[in-house]
Symmetry: C2
Subunit: 193 residues, 2 copies
Amino acid sequence: MPNSPFQPVELHHASRLLNHGPTVLVTTAAGGRRNVMAAAWSMPVEFTPPRVAVVVDKATFTRELLVAGGGFVLCIPGAALADATFAAGSRSGRDGDKFDALGLQPRPGPVLGLPVLEAGCAAWLECRWLPEAHTEAAYDTCFGEVVAAAADPRVFAEGRWSLRPDNADLHTLHHLGGGLFARAAQTVQARPL
Amino acid sequence: MPNSPFQPVELHHASRLLNHGPTVLVTTAAGGRRNVMAAAWSMPVEFTPPRVAVVVDKATFTRELLVAGGGFVLCIPGAALADATFAAGSRSGRDGDKFDALGLQPRPGPVLGLPVLEAGCAAWLECRWLPEAHTEAAYDTCFGEVVAAAADPRVFAEGRWSLRPDNADLHTLHHLGGGLFARAAQTVQARPL
């Protein structure tokens, strides 16, 4: 599958990118340092303004950079990045640059300049940190406001996912545990009752 | 698929039930009233003690009952409940009992006595509300501690999901939007890098 230029996602559609619960890669950067970790625990919390929550343990390097840099990016890996996603969740960026180790090449996000991943990913959401000292301390839950978003139009366009056999490498991953992911491949259309 | 008795899930495995981002049915009850709504926005926030977060709009009947009853249940519908799940997210319980309207027959949960759904569901988590006035007001985000959990052993046992062709009706649903759900059917096992 050749690389495709990402297309901007309108901010009122941003929640759709996370609505179905994909595992994400959380990227951060501050003061010349950068990191990427995997997170299964994230969700939208508001449509407008578009806001999200993500659980980032207070002991992680990502948490340190999130606070220092004032933001984070939720990158949504496609199925072809399953190995890299699992690896990103299994080691610390304090031990060496994980982008290089995993072959991930970020570029600066449009608003905050944080690292966004496109090759192999279905979409990303660049988020400005909304400091909430209590929930960060009590639940490791960090909030952010989406300030820019983009997606690979082969799998998400005009606010809708399109999961087809010909874009299987971009199907989202949903971590079941132990490196086993469900892949969002099959769909079911509900009928009105 | 015949009904199967649910089996208790050890609390240290409870986060696994939500780890892959399924859409849930949130049930509540207080003072002789009860409700069920669909929610795509929930996540675990801690392994031990097992805690979760779920977004429940402050205008909803569910929010009123959650506060009045001091808890909620996250029930995880299987694919056979796609139509009922979409319908549960499209109308208000203030207009009539949705359990009856949707053919859902709850039984009392073991610790809090809140309505738990088993037929057609893969699992449930009964949760005691952890009041957090600020995040409930600012982000409609409600926290809870899991006090009991159970699953259909045909699809989740000993802390692990097993998604197979013969249990397709119990595969979890992941709402893409507009009643279109991804079904957790196919899996990918990551390899160590």
